[in-house]
Subunit: 157 residues, 2 copies
């Protein structure tokens, strides 16, 4: 379970590869690779933070709201997209971690902005060991963890 440490690669450099991977994963769940789905993946691949549906629609003006919701659900089922619920506000969406690398979220309590960050490897390892122990103690089979740091961002501070 390698944990990537550099700011994870959610850029456009590997979009070619990404398209292929996405198509394959859609095939696996018997879903077609459509323009709308490619567009959604490209949008998510082009940012460094999870986006709300509103933000996604602003970046792809020609997509119906309902189609966006439906396609994001399909992409989630295909293991391409992950839903991120951070506050009581809107749901956000990002690419699955195996496409971007394991990371966490900085959440501004003031403006609601969300940014990605990574823990250094030693800390991440200590954390994972401690979580495994806690899971074992509770008779819990651990899958993954979510870690948010809540505070005030540079602009609001």
């Amino acid at each position: 379970m390698a944990s990537t440490h550099e700011p994870h690669p959610r850029g456009r450099s590997e979009v070619g590869d990404l398209d292929t991977i996405v198509s394959e994963r859609l095939d696996l769940v018997d879903q077609r690779t459509t323009a709308a789905r490619r567009s959604l993946v490209d949008i998510l691949a082009g940012t460094t933070a999870p986006l709300t549906l509103r933000e996604i629609l602003e970046l792809d003006a020609g997509l119906a709201q309902s189609s966006a919701y439906r396609n994001l659900a399909v992409l989630e089922e295909a293991g391409v997209v992950r839903r991120v619920v951070i506050g009581d506000d809107h749901t956000r969406y990002e690419l699955a971690e195996d496409l971007t690398g394991h990371h966490h979220h900085l959440v501004c309590a003031d403006c609601g902005a969300v940014t990605d960050f990574v823990l250094d490897d030693p800390a991440e390892q200590v954390l994972e060991a401690a979580l495994d122990a806690a899971a074992a103690a509770a008779g819990f089979r651990a899958e993954h963890h979510r870690l948010d740091l809540v505070g005030t961002c540079r602009r609001c501070g």
Copy 2:
């Protein structure tokens, strides 16, 4: 790395003290201490996991839904209650951490059940140090963190 602290003290032993603290905090934000608010606090103090509104209402049949929402918002503003958003399902509520102790949540991906757990002290310290470093690097003023372990609970596993 055993993390077997006892389930944090959200029991009824200190309810007397708790009532006093709650009244004081309500006073501080110019809110009255009413029966409904005391009841909500007692309910939250009586469990070991954050509750949904539905669960809360089941435990206090005589409280209107809207009053529950309003009072939980007041209690949150008073620093007595904390809103916990875990999945895309319902919001949950628990007592503020300074009343119960710092803890995290085990979330069953299958049935949605939520349970509290604590990290052992060394791990928590490593985590906090790493988070402080990450916050500093991002120009972020850290307030607190949230850590959920998602997996399968004993009953669903």
